[in-house]
Amino acid sequence: MIIVPCPHCGPRNSVDLRNCGEVVNRPNPDTATLTEWRTYLYLRENAAGWVSETWYCRAGCRRYFTIERNTVTNEIRDQS
Protein backbone atom coordinates (compact mmCIF):
# COMPACT_ATOMS: atom_id res chain seq x y z
CA MET A 1 0.00 0.00 0.00
CA ILE A 2 1.27 3.47 -0.85
CA ILE A 3 0.13 6.24 1.51
CA VAL A 4 -0.05 9.58 -0.28
CA PRO A 5 -0.09 12.78 1.79
CA CYS A 6 -2.74 14.99 0.20
CA PRO A 7 -2.02 18.58 1.28
CA HIS A 8 -5.74 19.10 1.88
CA CYS A 9 -7.05 15.72 3.07
CA GLY A 10 -4.01 14.31 4.83
CA PRO A 11 -2.58 10.82 4.33
CA ARG A 12 -4.71 8.56 2.12
CA ASN A 13 -4.33 5.20 0.44
CA SER A 14 -3.18 5.70 -3.15
CA VAL A 15 -6.26 3.87 -4.46
CA ASP A 16 -8.30 6.95 -3.46
CA LEU A 17 -6.19 9.09 -5.78
CA ARG A 18 -5.01 8.95 -9.35
CA ASN A 19 -1.33 8.98 -10.16
CA CYS A 20 -0.91 11.30 -13.15
CA GLY A 21 2.75 10.54 -13.68
CA GLU A 22 5.95 12.55 -13.70
CA VAL A 23 5.76 16.32 -13.98
CA VAL A 24 6.28 17.37 -17.60
CA ASN A 25 6.42 20.96 -18.78
CA ARG A 26 3.63 21.80 -21.16
CA PRO A 27 4.80 23.85 -24.13
CA ASN A 28 2.70 26.82 -25.19
CA PRO A 29 -0.03 25.27 -27.38
CA ASP A 30 -0.14 28.39 -29.56
CA THR A 31 3.50 28.26 -30.52
CA ALA A 32 4.57 24.63 -30.03
CA THR A 33 5.38 22.59 -33.13
CA LEU A 34 3.56 19.30 -33.55
CA THR A 35 6.73 17.45 -32.63
CA GLU A 36 7.14 19.46 -29.43
CA TRP A 37 3.53 18.87 -28.54
CA ARG A 38 3.71 15.11 -29.13
CA THR A 39 6.97 14.89 -27.24
CA TYR A 40 5.16 16.51 -24.31
CA LEU A 41 2.22 14.12 -24.71
CA TYR A 42 4.11 10.84 -25.00
CA LEU A 43 7.79 10.83 -24.11
CA ARG A 44 8.74 10.23 -20.47
CA GLU A 45 11.93 9.95 -18.52
CA ASN A 46 10.46 7.10 -16.43
CA ALA A 47 13.35 7.43 -13.99
CA ALA A 48 14.23 4.95 -11.25
CA GLY A 49 14.71 7.09 -8.14
CA TRP A 50 13.30 10.38 -6.87
CA VAL A 51 10.70 11.79 -9.24
CA SER A 52 8.37 14.83 -9.00
CA GLU A 53 4.92 13.68 -9.91
CA THR A 54 1.35 14.86 -10.03
CA TRP A 55 -1.51 13.25 -8.15
CA TYR A 56 -5.23 13.87 -8.41
CA CYS A 57 -7.24 13.47 -5.21
CA ARG A 58 -10.08 11.61 -6.91
CA ALA A 59 -12.13 10.54 -3.89
CA GLY A 60 -11.29 13.50 -1.67
CA CYS A 61 -10.77 17.20 -2.39
CA ARG A 62 -10.50 16.65 -6.16
CA ARG A 63 -7.45 18.82 -6.44
CA TYR A 64 -4.15 18.22 -8.19
CA PHE A 65 -0.87 18.44 -6.30
CA THR A 66 2.79 17.55 -6.73
CA ILE A 67 4.94 15.36 -4.49
CA GLU A 68 8.27 13.60 -4.74
CA ARG A 69 8.28 9.83 -4.73
CA ASN A 70 11.14 7.38 -5.03
CA THR A 71 10.04 5.01 -7.79
CA VAL A 72 12.33 2.26 -6.53
CA THR A 73 11.20 2.21 -2.88
CA ASN A 74 7.89 4.14 -3.13
CA GLU A 75 8.99 6.41 -0.28
CA ILE A 76 7.40 9.85 -0.47
CA ARG A 77 8.92 13.14 0.67
CA ASP A 78 7.61 16.65 0.76
CA GLN A 79 8.28 18.85 -2.24
CA SER A 80 9.46 21.74 -0.02
Binding site: T39, E45, N46, A47, V72
Partner: protein, 429 residues
Protein backbone atom coordinates in the same frame (compact mmCIF):
# COMPACT_ATOMS: atom_id res chain seq x y z
CA UNK B 1 20.56 -27.90 -34.18
CA UNK B 2 24.20 -28.46 -35.02
CA UNK B 3 25.96 -31.79 -34.50
CA UNK B 4 27.49 -31.06 -31.11
CA UNK B 5 24.15 -30.16 -29.55
CA UNK B 6 22.90 -32.52 -26.90
CA UNK B 7 19.64 -33.76 -28.31
CA UNK B 8 16.74 -34.47 -25.98
CA UNK B 9 14.67 -37.54 -26.73
CA UNK B 10 12.34 -40.02 -25.04
CA UNK B 11 15.17 -42.58 -24.99
CA UNK B 12 17.49 -40.16 -23.17
CA UNK B 13 14.75 -39.30 -20.70
CA UNK B 14 14.26 -42.97 -19.92
CA UNK B 15 17.99 -43.59 -19.54
CA UNK B 16 18.50 -40.58 -17.29
CA UNK B 17 15.47 -41.59 -15.27
CA UNK B 18 16.77 -45.10 -14.72
CA UNK B 19 20.42 -44.21 -14.08
CA UNK B 20 19.68 -40.94 -12.28
CA UNK B 21 22.50 -39.48 -14.31
CA UNK B 22 23.02 -35.73 -14.41
CA UNK B 23 21.90 -33.83 -17.49
CA UNK B 24 24.46 -31.69 -19.27
CA UNK B 25 24.13 -27.94 -18.69
CA UNK B 26 21.77 -26.28 -21.12
CA UNK B 27 24.22 -23.55 -22.05
CA UNK B 28 27.89 -22.69 -21.52
CA UNK B 29 29.41 -20.01 -19.38
CA UNK B 30 31.30 -18.24 -22.15
CA UNK B 31 34.39 -16.07 -21.92
CA UNK B 32 33.69 -12.35 -21.74
CA UNK B 33 35.01 -10.71 -24.91
CA UNK B 34 35.53 -7.00 -25.37
CA UNK B 35 34.05 -6.86 -28.82
CA UNK B 36 30.98 -8.33 -30.51
CA UNK B 37 29.10 -7.69 -33.75
CA UNK B 38 25.81 -7.37 -31.88
CA UNK B 39 25.18 -6.76 -28.18
CA UNK B 40 21.69 -7.52 -26.94
CA UNK B 41 20.76 -6.05 -23.56
CA UNK B 42 18.24 -8.19 -21.68
CA UNK B 43 18.21 -11.98 -21.44
CA UNK B 44 14.46 -12.42 -21.54
CA UNK B 45 12.51 -14.08 -24.27
CA UNK B 46 12.89 -11.15 -26.67
CA UNK B 47 16.65 -10.82 -26.35
CA UNK B 48 17.20 -14.56 -26.59
CA UNK B 49 14.86 -15.03 -29.53
CA UNK B 50 16.57 -12.18 -31.40
CA UNK B 51 19.96 -13.81 -30.79
CA UNK B 52 18.65 -17.21 -31.86
CA UNK B 53 17.26 -15.95 -35.18
CA UNK B 54 20.37 -13.85 -35.85
CA UNK B 55 22.44 -17.02 -35.52
CA UNK B 56 20.15 -19.52 -37.24
CA UNK B 57 18.54 -17.46 -40.00
CA UNK B 58 21.32 -15.03 -40.80
CA UNK B 59 24.55 -16.70 -39.69
CA UNK B 60 25.38 -13.79 -37.36
CA UNK B 61 26.90 -15.58 -34.37
CA UNK B 62 29.34 -13.09 -32.87
CA UNK B 63 26.55 -11.98 -30.57
CA UNK B 64 26.35 -11.37 -26.81
CA UNK B 65 23.21 -11.35 -24.71
CA UNK B 66 23.76 -9.48 -21.43
CA UNK B 67 21.54 -9.75 -18.39
CA UNK B 68 22.02 -8.08 -15.03
CA UNK B 69 20.32 -11.01 -13.33
CA UNK B 70 19.54 -14.44 -14.70
CA UNK B 71 17.97 -15.50 -17.99
CA UNK B 72 14.20 -15.24 -17.77
CA UNK B 73 14.33 -13.33 -14.48
CA UNK B 74 12.18 -10.49 -15.87
CA UNK B 75 8.69 -10.70 -17.29
CA UNK B 76 9.62 -13.76 -19.34
CA UNK B 77 9.68 -15.94 -16.23
CA UNK B 78 6.76 -14.25 -14.48
CA UNK B 79 3.99 -14.06 -17.04
CA UNK B 80 0.78 -16.04 -17.18
CA UNK B 81 1.83 -17.68 -20.43
CA UNK B 82 -1.17 -16.82 -22.57
CA UNK B 83 -0.82 -16.77 -26.35
CA UNK B 84 -3.44 -15.62 -28.90
CA UNK B 85 -3.76 -13.51 -32.03
CA UNK B 86 -7.27 -12.00 -31.83
CA UNK B 87 -6.09 -8.40 -31.61
CA UNK B 88 -7.85 -5.29 -32.87
CA UNK B 89 -5.68 -3.62 -35.50
CA UNK B 90 -4.69 -5.33 -38.78
CA UNK B 91 -1.01 -4.66 -37.97
CA UNK B 92 -1.35 -6.27 -34.56
CA UNK B 93 -3.30 -9.27 -35.81
CA UNK B 94 -0.80 -10.11 -38.56
CA UNK B 95 2.09 -9.82 -36.15
CA UNK B 96 0.69 -11.92 -33.29
CA UNK B 97 -0.58 -14.54 -35.71
CA UNK B 98 2.92 -15.12 -37.06
CA UNK B 99 4.05 -15.62 -33.48
CA UNK B 100 1.38 -18.27 -32.90
CA UNK B 101 2.64 -20.09 -35.99
CA UNK B 102 6.16 -20.07 -34.59
CA UNK B 103 4.84 -21.40 -31.28
CA UNK B 104 3.17 -24.25 -33.14
CA UNK B 105 6.45 -25.71 -34.34
CA UNK B 106 8.64 -24.49 -31.49
CA UNK B 107 8.98 -27.78 -29.62
CA UNK B 108 10.44 -29.37 -32.75
CA UNK B 109 12.49 -26.36 -33.78
CA UNK B 110 14.13 -26.00 -30.36
CA UNK B 111 14.11 -29.70 -29.42
CA UNK B 112 12.42 -28.90 -26.13
CA UNK B 113 8.85 -29.55 -25.04
CA UNK B 114 7.31 -26.11 -24.54
CA UNK B 115 3.93 -27.60 -23.62
CA UNK B 116 1.81 -25.57 -26.01
CA UNK B 117 -1.78 -26.21 -24.98
CA UNK B 118 -4.22 -24.90 -27.60
CA UNK B 119 -7.14 -24.79 -25.27
CA UNK B 120 -9.08 -21.87 -26.69
CA UNK B 121 -9.46 -18.34 -25.41
CA UNK B 122 -12.71 -16.67 -24.29
CA UNK B 123 -13.04 -12.91 -23.77
CA UNK B 124 -16.29 -12.20 -21.95
CA UNK B 125 -18.51 -9.21 -22.67
CA UNK B 126 -20.59 -7.79 -19.83
CA UNK B 127 -21.66 -4.56 -21.53
CA UNK B 128 -23.04 -3.56 -24.91
CA UNK B 129 -19.94 -1.56 -25.69
CA UNK B 130 -17.69 -4.54 -24.91
CA UNK B 131 -19.83 -6.70 -27.18
CA UNK B 132 -19.49 -4.10 -29.92
CA UNK B 133 -15.68 -4.10 -29.63
CA UNK B 134 -15.75 -7.90 -29.81
CA UNK B 135 -17.77 -7.88 -33.02
CA UNK B 136 -15.26 -5.40 -34.40
CA UNK B 137 -12.35 -7.60 -33.36
CA UNK B 138 -14.02 -10.72 -34.77
CA UNK B 139 -14.49 -9.05 -38.16
CA UNK B 140 -10.91 -7.74 -38.29
CA UNK B 141 -9.71 -11.22 -37.28
CA UNK B 142 -11.81 -13.13 -39.82
CA UNK B 143 -10.67 -10.86 -42.62
CA UNK B 144 -7.14 -11.99 -41.87
CA UNK B 145 -8.07 -15.65 -41.72
CA UNK B 146 -8.03 -15.95 -37.95
CA UNK B 147 -10.41 -18.28 -36.14
CA UNK B 148 -12.32 -15.79 -33.99
CA UNK B 149 -16.05 -15.25 -33.51
CA UNK B 150 -18.62 -13.84 -31.09
CA UNK B 151 -20.65 -16.49 -29.28
CA UNK B 152 -23.70 -16.15 -27.02
CA UNK B 153 -23.98 -17.06 -23.33
CA UNK B 154 -25.29 -20.58 -23.90
CA UNK B 155 -22.24 -21.38 -26.04
CA UNK B 156 -20.01 -19.76 -23.44
CA UNK B 157 -21.46 -22.20 -20.93
CA UNK B 158 -20.54 -25.09 -23.24
CA UNK B 159 -16.94 -23.95 -23.52
CA UNK B 160 -16.53 -23.21 -19.79
CA UNK B 161 -19.26 -24.89 -17.73
CA UNK B 162 -18.04 -23.45 -14.43
CA UNK B 163 -18.92 -19.89 -15.47
CA UNK B 164 -22.09 -18.35 -14.14
CA UNK B 165 -23.87 -17.17 -17.30
CA UNK B 166 -27.22 -16.50 -15.63
CA UNK B 167 -28.73 -13.02 -16.01
CA UNK B 168 -28.89 -12.63 -12.23
CA UNK B 169 -25.26 -11.75 -11.59
CA UNK B 170 -24.03 -8.26 -10.95
CA UNK B 171 -22.40 -8.14 -14.39
CA UNK B 172 -24.25 -10.67 -16.54
CA UNK B 173 -22.29 -12.28 -19.38
CA UNK B 174 -23.79 -11.04 -22.66
CA UNK B 175 -21.52 -13.00 -24.94
CA UNK B 176 -17.86 -13.67 -25.63
CA UNK B 177 -15.19 -13.48 -28.27
CA UNK B 178 -14.09 -17.07 -28.82
CA UNK B 179 -10.63 -17.77 -30.24
CA UNK B 180 -9.93 -21.52 -30.43
CA UNK B 181 -6.22 -21.26 -31.46
CA UNK B 182 -5.31 -19.33 -28.28
CA UNK B 183 -3.90 -21.12 -25.27
CA UNK B 184 -0.93 -21.36 -22.95
CA UNK B 185 2.74 -22.26 -23.35
CA UNK B 186 5.25 -23.12 -20.63
CA UNK B 187 7.09 -19.79 -20.38
CA UNK B 188 10.31 -21.04 -18.74
CA UNK B 189 10.69 -23.72 -21.37
CA UNK B 190 10.50 -21.10 -24.11
CA UNK B 191 13.25 -19.05 -22.46
CA UNK B 192 15.45 -22.09 -21.89
CA UNK B 193 14.76 -23.42 -25.38
CA UNK B 194 15.89 -20.23 -27.10
CA UNK B 195 18.84 -19.81 -24.74
CA UNK B 196 20.05 -23.36 -25.27
CA UNK B 197 19.67 -23.19 -29.04
CA UNK B 198 21.29 -19.75 -29.30
CA UNK B 199 24.20 -20.99 -27.19
CA UNK B 200 24.65 -24.03 -29.42
CA UNK B 201 24.88 -21.74 -32.41
CA UNK B 202 27.69 -19.74 -30.83
CA UNK B 203 25.90 -16.87 -29.11
CA UNK B 204 27.46 -15.79 -25.80
CA UNK B 205 24.99 -15.58 -22.92
CA UNK B 206 26.37 -13.43 -20.09
CA UNK B 207 24.34 -13.46 -16.91
CA UNK B 208 25.12 -11.23 -13.91
CA UNK B 209 26.33 -8.61 -16.35
CA UNK B 210 24.69 -5.24 -15.87
CA UNK B 211 24.79 -2.57 -18.53
CA UNK B 212 25.76 0.73 -16.88
CA UNK B 213 26.00 2.97 -19.92
CA UNK B 214 25.68 3.02 -23.68
CA UNK B 215 28.70 4.48 -25.44
CA UNK B 216 27.98 6.80 -28.35
CA UNK B 217 29.69 9.36 -30.54
CA UNK B 218 28.59 12.22 -32.75
CA UNK B 219 25.17 12.82 -31.21
CA UNK B 220 23.67 16.19 -30.35
CA UNK B 221 23.39 15.40 -26.62
CA UNK B 222 26.03 15.18 -23.87
CA UNK B 223 28.87 12.66 -24.41
CA UNK B 224 27.91 12.31 -28.07
CA UNK B 225 24.63 10.64 -27.23
CA UNK B 226 21.26 11.41 -28.75
CA UNK B 227 19.88 11.90 -32.27
CA UNK B 228 22.39 12.07 -35.09
CA UNK B 229 25.01 10.05 -33.25
CA UNK B 230 25.96 6.42 -33.38
CA UNK B 231 26.57 3.63 -30.94
CA UNK B 232 30.09 2.39 -30.27
CA UNK B 233 29.48 -0.07 -27.45
CA UNK B 234 28.33 -0.56 -23.88
CA UNK B 235 29.83 -0.16 -20.42
CA UNK B 236 29.03 -3.11 -18.17
CA UNK B 237 29.72 -4.18 -14.61
CA UNK B 238 32.35 -6.51 -16.10
CA UNK B 239 34.03 -4.01 -18.41
CA UNK B 240 33.46 -2.24 -21.71
CA UNK B 241 32.38 -3.98 -24.87
CA UNK B 242 32.65 -2.36 -28.27
CA UNK B 243 29.93 -3.17 -30.76
CA UNK B 244 28.41 -1.41 -33.76
CA UNK B 245 24.92 -2.65 -32.91
CA UNK B 246 23.25 -2.55 -29.51
CA UNK B 247 19.71 -3.80 -29.03
CA UNK B 248 17.53 -2.84 -26.07
CA UNK B 249 15.34 -5.79 -24.98
CA UNK B 250 14.89 -4.81 -21.34
CA UNK B 251 11.10 -4.47 -21.09
CA UNK B 252 10.32 -2.89 -17.68
CA UNK B 253 13.79 -1.31 -17.54
CA UNK B 254 13.72 -0.12 -21.18
CA UNK B 255 13.56 3.61 -20.41
CA UNK B 256 16.62 3.45 -18.15
CA UNK B 257 18.67 1.82 -20.91
CA UNK B 258 17.31 4.05 -23.66
CA UNK B 259 18.04 7.22 -21.68
CA UNK B 260 21.67 6.03 -21.65
CA UNK B 261 21.65 6.43 -25.43
CA UNK B 262 19.84 9.76 -25.29
CA UNK B 263 16.65 8.31 -26.77
CA UNK B 264 13.68 8.92 -24.46
CA UNK B 265 10.82 6.47 -24.85
CA UNK B 266 7.02 6.78 -24.65
CA UNK B 267 7.04 4.29 -21.78
CA UNK B 268 6.09 4.15 -18.11
CA UNK B 269 6.89 1.15 -15.95
CA UNK B 270 4.07 -0.50 -14.02
CA UNK B 271 4.00 -3.73 -12.04
CA UNK B 272 1.60 -6.47 -13.10
CA UNK B 273 0.56 -9.03 -10.52
CA UNK B 274 -0.58 -12.62 -10.80
CA UNK B 275 -1.55 -15.38 -8.40
CA UNK B 276 -2.17 -19.14 -8.31
CA UNK B 277 -4.44 -21.31 -6.22
CA UNK B 278 -3.86 -24.73 -4.77
CA UNK B 279 -4.29 -27.49 -7.37
CA UNK B 280 -7.66 -29.14 -7.95
CA UNK B 281 -9.06 -31.56 -10.48
CA UNK B 282 -9.00 -29.93 -13.91
CA UNK B 283 -12.36 -28.31 -14.63
CA UNK B 284 -11.62 -25.18 -16.66
CA UNK B 285 -10.87 -26.11 -20.27
CA UNK B 286 -10.23 -22.63 -21.74
CA UNK B 287 -8.56 -19.35 -20.90
CA UNK B 288 -11.22 -16.91 -19.65
CA UNK B 289 -10.79 -13.13 -19.71
CA UNK B 290 -13.17 -10.50 -18.41
CA UNK B 291 -12.28 -6.92 -19.29
CA UNK B 292 -15.08 -5.39 -17.23
CA UNK B 293 -14.08 -7.37 -14.15
CA UNK B 294 -10.36 -6.77 -14.73
CA UNK B 295 -9.45 -10.42 -14.36
CA UNK B 296 -8.42 -13.46 -16.34
CA UNK B 297 -7.98 -17.08 -15.39
CA UNK B 298 -6.67 -20.36 -16.77
CA UNK B 299 -5.94 -23.74 -15.22
CA UNK B 300 -2.56 -25.40 -15.44
CA UNK B 301 -2.07 -29.07 -16.24
CA UNK B 302 -1.27 -29.54 -12.56
CA UNK B 303 -4.67 -28.10 -11.68
CA UNK B 304 -3.75 -24.71 -10.24
CA UNK B 305 -5.85 -21.76 -11.29
CA UNK B 306 -3.66 -18.93 -12.59
CA UNK B 307 -5.14 -15.46 -12.19
CA UNK B 308 -4.08 -12.15 -13.59
CA UNK B 309 -5.45 -8.63 -13.86
CA UNK B 310 -4.60 -5.19 -15.22
CA UNK B 311 -1.36 -3.46 -14.25
CA UNK B 312 -1.08 -1.69 -10.88
CA UNK B 313 -2.25 1.91 -11.30
CA UNK B 314 0.87 3.55 -9.82
CA UNK B 315 3.99 3.39 -11.95
CA UNK B 316 7.01 2.03 -10.01
CA UNK B 317 10.08 -0.18 -10.31
CA UNK B 318 9.20 -1.91 -7.08
CA UNK B 319 7.73 -5.37 -7.46
CA UNK B 320 5.75 -6.43 -4.46
CA UNK B 321 2.36 -8.03 -3.98
CA UNK B 322 -0.44 -5.84 -2.67
CA UNK B 323 -3.55 -6.64 -0.70
CA UNK B 324 -5.59 -4.40 -3.03
CA UNK B 325 -4.80 -6.78 -5.86
CA UNK B 326 -5.72 -9.96 -4.01
CA UNK B 327 -8.90 -8.48 -2.63
CA UNK B 328 -10.15 -7.18 -5.95
CA UNK B 329 -9.11 -10.33 -7.74
CA UNK B 330 -10.94 -12.63 -5.35
CA UNK B 331 -14.11 -10.55 -5.52
CA UNK B 332 -14.16 -10.48 -9.28
CA UNK B 333 -13.26 -14.10 -9.83
CA UNK B 334 -16.11 -15.16 -7.56
CA UNK B 335 -18.53 -13.10 -9.65
CA UNK B 336 -17.57 -15.30 -12.58
CA UNK B 337 -17.15 -18.64 -10.80
CA UNK B 338 -18.99 -18.70 -7.49
CA UNK B 339 -18.14 -22.38 -7.15
CA UNK B 340 -14.47 -21.83 -6.29
CA UNK B 341 -14.98 -19.76 -3.15
CA UNK B 342 -13.32 -22.38 -0.93
CA UNK B 343 -10.10 -22.56 -2.97
CA UNK B 344 -7.00 -21.10 -1.36
CA UNK B 345 -4.47 -18.82 -3.03
CA UNK B 346 -0.99 -20.30 -2.76
CA UNK B 347 1.26 -17.66 -4.25
CA UNK B 348 1.18 -14.18 -5.68
CA UNK B 349 3.92 -12.37 -7.55
CA UNK B 350 4.62 -9.34 -9.66
CA UNK B 351 6.70 -8.29 -12.66
CA UNK B 352 7.56 -5.03 -14.41
CA UNK B 353 5.75 -4.02 -17.58
CA UNK B 354 6.78 -1.32 -20.03
CA UNK B 355 3.50 0.36 -20.91
CA UNK B 356 3.08 2.50 -24.03
CA UNK B 357 0.23 4.98 -24.64
CA UNK B 358 -1.30 2.88 -27.45
CA UNK B 359 -0.70 -0.63 -26.05
CA UNK B 360 1.55 -1.49 -28.99
CA UNK B 361 5.31 -2.11 -28.84
CA UNK B 362 8.20 0.11 -29.95
CA UNK B 363 10.48 -1.75 -32.36
CA UNK B 364 13.31 -1.17 -34.78
CA UNK B 365 15.74 1.65 -35.51
CA UNK B 366 16.03 4.86 -33.49
CA UNK B 367 17.55 8.28 -34.16
CA UNK B 368 20.88 6.89 -32.87
CA UNK B 369 22.59 4.77 -35.52
CA UNK B 370 23.22 1.21 -34.40
CA UNK B 371 20.92 1.49 -31.40
CA UNK B 372 17.73 -0.54 -31.85
CA UNK B 373 14.80 -1.17 -29.53
CA UNK B 374 12.40 -4.06 -29.02
CA UNK B 375 10.45 -2.71 -26.07
CA UNK B 376 7.05 -1.46 -24.96
CA UNK B 377 5.89 -5.03 -24.54
CA UNK B 378 3.68 -4.17 -21.64
CA UNK B 379 1.54 -7.08 -20.64
CA UNK B 380 1.52 -8.89 -23.98
CA UNK B 381 5.14 -9.59 -24.85
CA UNK B 382 5.23 -13.27 -24.08
CA UNK B 383 3.06 -14.28 -27.00
CA UNK B 384 5.03 -11.92 -29.24
CA UNK B 385 8.49 -13.23 -28.33
CA UNK B 386 9.10 -15.51 -31.30
CA UNK B 387 7.95 -13.10 -34.02
CA UNK B 388 9.77 -10.21 -32.36
CA UNK B 389 13.00 -12.16 -32.40
CA UNK B 390 12.46 -13.14 -36.00
CA UNK B 391 11.66 -9.63 -37.24
CA UNK B 392 14.32 -7.89 -35.13
CA UNK B 393 16.95 -10.32 -36.40
CA UNK B 394 15.89 -9.68 -39.99
CA UNK B 395 15.97 -5.92 -39.40
CA UNK B 396 19.49 -6.12 -37.94
CA UNK B 397 20.80 -8.48 -40.64
CA UNK B 398 19.43 -6.53 -43.60
CA UNK B 399 19.78 -3.05 -42.17
CA UNK B 400 16.20 -2.38 -43.28
CA UNK B 401 13.12 -2.15 -41.08
CA UNK B 402 11.16 -5.35 -41.49
CA UNK B 403 7.76 -4.68 -43.06
CA UNK B 404 5.91 -6.34 -40.19
CA UNK B 405 7.35 -4.06 -37.54
CA UNK B 406 7.31 -0.83 -39.55
CA UNK B 407 4.02 0.29 -37.89
CA UNK B 408 5.68 -0.05 -34.47
CA UNK B 409 8.56 2.36 -35.05
CA UNK B 410 9.37 4.91 -32.38
CA UNK B 411 8.71 7.72 -34.86
CA UNK B 412 4.98 7.02 -34.77
CA UNK B 413 4.75 9.02 -31.58
CA UNK B 414 6.25 12.17 -33.01
CA UNK B 415 4.35 11.66 -36.26
CA UNK B 416 1.06 11.06 -34.46
CA UNK B 417 0.43 7.66 -36.08
CA UNK B 418 -0.44 5.45 -33.13
CA UNK B 419 -1.56 1.79 -33.33
CA UNK B 420 -4.34 1.63 -30.73
CA UNK B 421 -4.62 -1.84 -29.20
CA UNK B 422 -6.14 -0.89 -25.87
CA UNK B 423 -9.46 -2.52 -26.78
CA UNK B 424 -7.72 -5.88 -27.19
CA UNK B 425 -4.90 -5.75 -24.68
CA UNK B 426 -5.79 -3.78 -21.55
CA UNK B 427 -6.79 -6.77 -19.44
CA UNK B 428 -6.42 -9.92 -21.50
CA UNK B 429 -2.72 -10.35 -22.08
Amino acid sequence: MPQHAYKYSAAKLLRHGLTRGTWPRMWRQPEFKDTYDVVIIGGGLHGLATAYYLATEHGITNVAVLDKGYLGGGGSGRNTAIVRSNYLTPEGVAFYDRSLHLYNTMADDLNLNVMFSRRGHLTLAHTDSALRTMHWRAEVNKLQGIDSSVIDPSDVKKEAPSLDVSPNTRYPILGALFHPPGGTVRHDAVVWGYARAADHHGVHLHQQTEVLDILCEGGTGPEGKGPGGKVTGVRTSRGDISAPIVVNCTAGWASLISNMAGVPLPITTHPLQAAVTEPTKVFLPTVVVSGSLHVYVSQTDRGELVFGASVDPVGTYRVNGTLEFTEELAGHVLELMPGISKMRLMRQWSGLCDMTPDYSPVMGFTPVEGYLVDVGWGTYGFKAGPVSGETMARTIATGKTDEMIAPFNLSRFTEGDLVGEKGAAAVGH
